[in-house]
Symmetry: C2
Subunit: 137 residues, 2 copies
Amino acid sequence: MTSSRQGDLFDPLCPTRQVLDRIGTKWTSMVIKVLAEAAPEEVRFGELRRRIPGISQKMLSSTLQSLVRDGLIARRVEPTVPPRVHYRLTELGLSLETPLAALRAWAETHVSTLLRNNRLAEQLAPHTQGEESPARS
Amino acid sequence: MTSSRQGDLFDPLCPTRQVLDRIGTKWTSMVIKVLAEAAPEEVRFGELRRRIPGISQKMLSSTLQSLVRDGLIARRVEPTVPPRVHYRLTELGLSLETPLAALRAWAETHVSTLLRNNRLAEQLAPHTQGEESPARS
DNA sequence: CTGTATCCAAGTAGATACTG
DNA sequence: CAGTATCTACTTGGATACAG
């Protein structure tokens, strides 16, 4: 748990924030997911790009760099011309996949409820306000 | 604003992204954590603010609104003067706490490695190119 | 093929002031 | 007490061009 005090969950000392700041960015979770599905096989840059529709070279590049810096994925360069670069999850990255999979499971189960709640709140509460939330459970 | 079209064009929108977009924002995870620790007790606005150092009224307010809209937390107003507003996790919110706790556990275990990896990468690779990742496993 | 560099649009968060 | 309104700074992400 937290080190010293419960009320003190702020600052760069809050691990959850650190982690969420990393995996919460737009493309990170998708990159990890693709690499996790491919594991233990490596995936090349262009292949990642193809498997993540909509991502730009810049974002894929910077996302991969962050993850490499964190030690979550490993980068291997074939010294050919032109070069081929391969990525794979490290052990650390694979270990993250476990709680991430749990979150994914929750997401797939409940995202429809979440979206429905939003729609309901949007429809029937532009200025009117009930006290209860749309749907729980 | 959120004038979302329903076609959802280039993305077979993954639920995980939807969820991460919500809990990945700066203060959301902290609000959920505080409410989860207090559960099943309710927490008032000012109390939340006190327990989350650094958060502004505006951010707390908008964060809470998002979570209420999602149905993750419930809002109860005491019709007094001045009013007292109480927040608590809904069943849905509590169910999210489970995978979130798993992520928290991972974070607390591995965040030091993550940060160390970053420091190492920063030190020994400003422009020099090693092909090796700092620490895996 | 795998990146980097630049510029720009959009979203997110902070400070401050004001209200029922 | 519990918000809202506004204005601004910072950050993120996208488009494009170019390089090793």
